[in-house]
Subunit: 211 residues, 2 copies
């Protein structure tokens, strides 16, 4: 059973989706072992405590340099014997220490169909003002280049003429809540094969066959 850390900065609705997926037994061969936030007041921390999950805080402002923040976050993850990491509405860019420690073991959910509208925190409003008719969310491996790691899965949503940032963000978020647990399940079950930039999904092991 692999140990999953969830990194969150905000409301924690994606954390909640992961908690629910675990409760329903559809998170694969892993369990949430830790929730880390860079914000002391993140609602995600309240949700974690309510779910009985260990929490930790790693605020950039508490460290002299970004590098020391990176090392501290790495130490927190190591102390909790973390195997996999889900960035679930995490506004920080991870540092080289954490990235090197978890190669192809960190995933992020981004509120657009990458590569469109990557590289920022305003993907939903950028999509809206660009006038696209389809947007969505992307779960991808986290690499040193922001929002550019190999894509695990994407889910599309329509943009309607009367959408504003709130309505389109909500519609995308509902898909994030399905996509992130599904991607974590595939990762935890060792079903993802990375071939260049393409990520292929292996068939599910039939665990009943050998019984």
């Amino acid at each position: 059973m692999k140990r999953l850390a969830v990194l969150a900065s905000g409301r924690g609705s994606n954390l909640q989706a992961l908690v629910a997926a675990q409760a329903e037994g559809i998170l694969g061969d892993c369990a949430i072992a830790l929730v880390v936030s860079n914000r002391r007041t993140a609602l995600a921390l309240d949700r974690a405590r309510a779910a009985g999950l260990p929490t930790a805080i790693a605020r950039l402002g508490d460290f002299p340099t970004r590098s020391e923040w990176d090392v501290a976050l790495d130490a927190i993850l190591a102390a909790h014997r973390v195997d996999l990491i889900a960035c679930a509405g995490f506004e920080m860019i991870l540092g080289p220490r954490v990235l090197a420690g978890y190669p192809l073991r960190i995933v992020n959910v981004h509120p657009s169909l990458l590569p469109s509208f990557g590289g920022g925190l305003t993907a939903q409003s950028d999509a809206l003002s660009h006038g696209v008719k389809i947007t969505g969310c992307t779960v991808h491996f986290v690499t040193a280049e922001v929002d550019a790691g190999p894509i695990i899965l994407q889910r599309g949503v329509p943009v309607f003429d009367d959408d504003d940032v709130a309505t389109i963000s909500d519609r995308i978020l509902r898909e994030e809540h399905r996509a992130l647990p599904e991607a974590i399940r595939l990762l935890a079950d060792d079903r993802l094969v990375v071939d260049g930039r393409r990520v292929r999904v292996l068939p599910a092991l039939d665990r009943t066959r050998s019984l």
Copy 2:
């Protein structure tokens, strides 16, 4: 009844979709009045002749400069009293004379979900090698900036693990064949309102109401 010119460089399958849509009466308030190619041997020209449509050829190589090609193409369109233009697999970038003559009257169909994979002729293979899980097609107004005009509509398709350029291109093309006639119908029926980069669709006029 508006007069539509179709510009095509290749097989002309999108032209065929427009011909079929017109025959079925679902192309709105317009009729194909002309097919222009920049290639003398384009299969699109054969399809046009088979459908009894006037054809014209405007080859860049027949003119001393790109500017003179632009003026010649504009003259051809004027001679056929063209109101609307559909770029349907047209590999040339239109010049300033044609662009100025048909503001918000020229549409292009591009085989990706723009702004992803714009600006080139390899959108399908670019999407595949980038590893996206959703791609599709975009019908947009043509402006001076390539593949960047306001988006009229988009249709998405899934990318499967065993796709190659041929299979994904075919899947996208099937959506192009639905999207381009639909966009032309909306344009011909004056139902598109451009607001910044967003294109909104007006409700269909109930043509029976006043009878």
